[in-house]
């Protein structure tokens, strides 16, 4: 399970989540999540609606602070880091949000150009080039000069996806990148993820409800349930897991809930 580098030495994890607890106003959402994310892998998190997947993902980048537990990114604890250090760690990340989270005062072009202008010395011409490239990847050429309010929900999510990958960060977090898209566009998003997984040393964590897509893009799948990660396995193993909830989830059938 533990991957090794070319010399056979064990590689340290890219992100380690250790005993993470989080509650919102008395509602315990995460109850001791443990999860290791290896460099260069594509991990998919699945789980019921409202299970806390988005909350977990936001913890990874420090948008939400845990009640207790630790997030270690490249050996650095997010909680202890100085504000300056925090920004430096965040620069390793790109994230696309479930609802897009586009800046609604900027055009699509400026949205995607924003991180490039902010963090790179690229010229405007290079930036324009990169923006067009990213938009083409998500099948959205030609909307550069539209405002986010003029786009559909699915289009907004794809622009958010394009904005996340624009900087080519080391770690990418995708919150339901292909929910609500037509099958062809959804497959295009999958293809972008697969391509990045295979050709670039990028670490990816994706949340999705679409099991077909999950099996396509995942090196490993993790199941979040009742505030814990109850199963982590590569796709083939995941399919064979005896856990009735996992089987129910895969089959798309309700399972008998044990009374809590």
């Amino acid at each position: 399970m533990h991957p090794t580098d070319t010399n056979g030495l064990p590689t340290p994890p890219k992100i380690a989540v250790i005993d993470l607890w989080k509650s919102f106003g008395g509602k315990q959402v995460l109850k001791g999540v443990n999860l290791t994310i290896w460099p260069g892998e594509s991990l998919v998190i699945v789980g019921g609606s409202g299970a806390g997947k988005s909350v977990l993902l936001k913890h990874l980048i420090g948008l939400i602070h845990p009640d207790s537990g630790h997030i270690i990114v490249d050996g650095e604890d997010l909680a202890c880091a100085e504000p300056e250090r925090c920004l430096a760690i965040r620069r390793k990340f790109g994230m696309s949000f479930q609802e897009g989270a586009l800046f609604d005062s900027m055009t699509v072009f400026d949205n995607i150009a924003f991180p490039l202008r902010r963090h790179t010395p690229m010229s405007e011409a290079e930036i324009a080039q990169r923006v067009r490239e990213c938009l083409a990847l998500v099948h959205l050429s030609g909307v550069e000069h539209k405002m986010p309010a003029q786009l559909s929900g699915g289009m907004r999510r794809r622009v958010g996806f394009a904005r996340a990958i624009a900087l080519k960060p080391e770690i990418l977090l995708f919150d339901e990148p292909n929910t609500g898209l037509d099958p062809i566009t959804a497959a295009a998003i999958d293809r972008v993820i697969i391509e990045m997984r295979d050709k670039m040393p990028v670490t990816m964590v994706t949340i999705t409800h679409d099991m077909t897509s999950a099996f396509r893009i995942a090196d490993r799948l993790a199941m979040l349930r009742d505030g814990k990660i109850v199963a982590v396995a590569p796709p083939e193993e995941f399919r064979q897991l005896p856990d009735p909830y996992v089987q129910g989830f895969l089959a798309g059938q309700p399972v008998e809930e044990e009374v809590a």
Partner: protein
């Protein structure tokens, strides 16, 4: 017994909320000061915000000052005529405008115009995760959103108030001379006779402080918004009410210190 407990809980919560509010205000103020002098310096955004506060508020502030000056002349004239002190109307108008009325009224108007829009903008960005998106892109939202707004309000309010001083005095002049038949030369002379440069300057300092207060209040209300569209509405209203109250309270203490 139970009633006592309930009462304690009720007032306890109220007090906690007040402390929380004060804490947020100073958190935003403190981090704004820290981030103001860090790179990258976003000149274009500063200018955009300054135009919004400074240029676009000119009509509102001008009208407010104009009518304040006019009514001030009218009222004092009526009063002073009773003991034949009409000549001093000009002095009263210019002193009360520069020392007090121009900056307080302008600040209240700007709190309604700018403080509320800061709260609404940042609040909307908060509830639609745009602020999270900034964090995720390793851009400190305080740096990118709050610093230019606070700087704009703090720097532009003194200019607006200087402008209001002038317009208010002209308003008073037009009423006294045009309507009440005061002697224009005497009026003009009395306007400046007792007016110290200090009166004007301390008024402008107060204006800057009010700008800081109303912008930090608006931004912190917006920044800590929760609860969707309704939450944005609540933050916006609260920002105006809070800013106006703090402006009026601090006005007293500032006046005590500065004059």
């Amino acid at each position: 017994m139970k009633l006592m407990a309930r009462l304690f809980e009720f007032w306890g919560r109220r007090w906690l909320a007040v402390f929380e509010e004060v804490g947020r205000f100073f958190y935003v103020l403190h981090s704004t000061l820290l981030w103001t002098f860090r790179r990258p310096f976003d000149g274009k955004e500063w200018v955009r915000q300054m135009v919004r506060v400074g240029v676009e508020s000119v009509p509102v502030v001008g009208l407010t000052a104009l009518f304040t000056g006019m009514v001030l002349a009218l009222q004092t004239y009526r009063g002073f005529a009773r003991f034949h002190a009409e000549a001093f109307v000009a002095s009263v108008v210019s002193l009360s405008l520069t020392r007090e009325l121009a900056q307080v009224l302008a600040a209240l108007m700007i709190a309604g115009r700018i403080g509320s829009s800061y709260a609404a903008e940042l609040g909307t960005m908060r509830v639609t995760e745009q602020i999270d998106a900034l964090y995720a892109m390793a851009v400190e939202p305080i740096h990118y959103l709050v610093v230019p707004r606070v700087a704009a309000a703090t720097l532009m309010l003194p200019f607006l108030v200087a402008f209001a001083d002038g317009i208010g005095v002209l308003g008073g002049y037009s009423v006294a001379v045009g309507l009440l038949g005061a002697n224009p030369v005497v009026y003009w002379e009395k306007t400046f006779q007792f007016l110290d440069l200090n009166d004007v300057f301390s008024g402008l300092i107060k204006a800057g402080v009010f700008g800081l207060i109303l912008s930090v209040t608006g931004c912190s209300k917006g920044f800590f918004t929760t609860g969707g569209a309704e939450g944005v509405g609540r933050s916006t209203t609260a920002a105006v009410v809070m800013a106006s109250l703090i402006i009026l309270l601090s006005d007293f203490f500032l006046t005590k210190i500065l004059f």
